[in-house]
């Protein structure tokens, strides 16, 4: 835990009045929400909604124009060791001369400080994370020789190796087959049971209500934030995704099936 003041009642994430812009064009505007600990939260919104930007600004990778993001009740610097980040897979060059184990070991670097080298314990932790994502047989492979879904799992294993309390994952299911997606979501649910908080950027509205118990809907502004049962409604979806009719009809059916209340607009 961060310090004595942190209890399970402290929100995992508190974003206040967050505005971010690229070259003076705002991408996030006055975003304000709070997510409790122990949730598996879906961050949802159309392409270009600012989902990646939200995570990057929380992780201090892009500058905020205004507002702040507090993790476990404080700024990122105070809890950095407890926060883990999975970037979008396309953010790195996979032809890099590194093995799967090399990359997963990077998850341990944050705890090592300036001069210490990874020890046996770090290597063992990395190997056990590789086992969790089913990639142990691939540990010595060069990362270029993996499929897209396997590369995605390498990133996941690296995040697991950080042994954090809060996880931010940018599209961990992109390019992953159905069986792997199921395995990963089971892993994430297990992490939630252990009291960890996991944020996942996700695109598939069909699977979302089954995966997440909390959702944040975003489209430059915050559209909705709350428990899935409360916010996964046709009205919110319409406001988030605009008038893409076919999609909304599908989700309308889905809502009926799931017995979630399709609020009348």
């Amino acid at each position: 835990m961060a310090d004595q003041n942190t209890t399970s009642a402290t929100p995992a994430l508190e974003v206040h009045d967050l505005t971010v812009s690229y070259h003076s064009k705002p991408v996030l505007w006055g975003v304000d929400f709070t997510v409790p600990q122990g949730t598996l939260t879906g961050i949802m919104g159309p392409n270009g909604a600012g989902k990646s930007t939200l995570i990057k600004s929380i992780m201090g990778l892009v500058e905020m124009n205004s507002g702040f993001a507090h993790i476990l009740g404080g700024p990122l610097e105070k809890v950095r060791q407890q926060v883990s980040y999975v970037p979008q897979r396309e953010s790195v060059d996979w032809n890099f001369p590194a093995s799967v184990l090399d990359v997963v070991l990077m998850g341990r670097y944050g705890k090592l400080g300036l001069f210490k080298r990874p020890r046996k314990a770090d290597k063992e932790a990395a190997l056990s994370c590789l086992e969790d994502v089913g990639l142990l047989p691939f540990k010595d492979r060069q990362i270029a020789q993996l499929s897209g879904g396997q590369q995605q799992r390498v990133f996941l294993a690296r995040a697991l190796a950080q042994d954090a309390d809060i996880y931010f994952m940018d599209e961990p299911f992109a390019g992953v087959d159905a069986a792997t997606e199921q395995a990963i979501i089971n892993l994430l649910k297990k992490m939630r049971e252990q009291g960890k908080t996991v944020f996942v950027v996700h695109h598939d509205l069909q699977t979302a209500p089954e995966y997440f118990d909390w959702m944040v809907f975003l489209n430059t502004r915050l559209v909705a934030n709350g428990p899935t049962k409360k916010v996964f409604t046709q009205e919110v979806l319409k406001e988030t995704y605009g008038g893409k009719l076919s999609l909304l009809v599908q989700v309308g059916d889905l809502l009926a099936e799931e017995g979630l209340p399709p609020r009348k607009g």
Binding site: M59, P87, M106, G110, R117
Partner: protein, 295 residues
């Protein structure tokens, strides 16, 4: 062809240029920053000249400081033009270093006239004369000054990449993740460019400002084609660097031409040979595609 003692000093100097260049070159190639390396190796020139004008000597320390600050200035200007002014990166690089280099050339040709520093030497290096500038301590000859300078630079670069291996590795592969876990990508970017500046200034006397970039790129690019393992890539690039320096020097004496020119020709030749003969062609063509995206 007979070699005299001086030739061995020159070859050694060539190797001592090739080794740190090859090592730093691996990082530049993987970071797609080869052209920034090129820019720095040119832009240190005004720093060298200013240091010389202020102290009136070719002392190592002022030179390293002068070149180091110019290297930082170059890195900063390129970043500034690219990120804040939003000029394309190649345009930012081009505009920055040609300008600084031109200032250096003007400074050399108008204000400085000295056996140690003239236009010719600055542009093309002077490997052959290295053995004649000897270090003396208490009246005792200790070998060429350049060997001592280059040796020191080699030690610094080796220590740098040895001690900070992890930081350089992670900020090269995934700078965003590095920043997220508290390892500053900017800090290590500048540290690396500082090292490149230092190596450039130590090398310019031997191989000249124009050809330093060849020592930065060719051995590293050759090694990149041959291995999937980063540590092995570092090792192979050093081997290719040394081979280019020695074989290139021999080629140059047998043709009675520029030593640095010979070395770069051989370095290019080795790259070509590996490119054609590599046994693992599949991997190869894939890597070439990334490599050419770099240039």
């Amino acid at each position: 062809m007979t070699l005299i003692a001086g030739d061995y000093w020159s070859m050694l100097a060539g190797c001592l240029v090739a080794i740190p260049c090859a090592i730093l070159g691996c990082y530049l190639v993987l970071r797609r920053m080869v052209m920034i390396g090129d820019a720095i190796s040119h832009a240190v020139l005004p720093g060298i000249v200013l240091a010389f004008m202020l102290t009136d000597k070719m002392d190592t320390l002022p030179l390293l400081i002068g070149a180091g600050s110019l290297g930082m200035l170059t890195t900063f200007l390129i970043e500034f033009l690219h990120r804040k002014v939003r000029l394309q990166e190649d345009a930012s690089i081009g505009v920055t270093f040609t300008w600084l280099f031109a200032i250096g050339v003007i400074l050399v040709s108008t204000f400085v006239s000295n056996v140690h520093i003239d236009q010719e030497c600055v542009l093309y290096g002077d490997l052959v004369n290295i053995p004649f500038d000897l270090m003396e301590i208490g009246g005792k000859e200790m070998g060429p000054v350049a060997i001592w300078t280059l040796g020191l630079v080699n030690l610094c670069v080796l220590a740098f990449v040895w001690i900070f291996y992890r930081q350089l590795f992670i900020t090269t592969f995934d700078p965003s993740f590095a920043v997220a876990i508290g390892i500053s990508a900017t800090l290590w970017h500048y540290a690396l460019m500082g090292a490149v500046s230092m190596v450039s200034v130590a090398s310019f006397e031997s191989v000249g400002a124009i050809l330093v970039v060849a020592f930065l790129v060719a051995p590293a690019a050759t090694a990149y084609l041959l291995t999937d393992n980063f540590k092995l890539m570092l090792g192979l690039s050093v081997l290719f660097g040394i081979a280019s320096a020695i074989l290139g020097y021999l080629l140059a004496i047998s043709l009675n031409s520029s030593a640095a020119g010979g070395m770069v020709t051989v370095a290019g030749g080795i790259f070509g040979l590996v490119f054609v003969l590599s046994p693992r062609y599949g991997m190869f063509s894939k890597k070439l595609r990334t490599l050419f995206k770099v240039a």
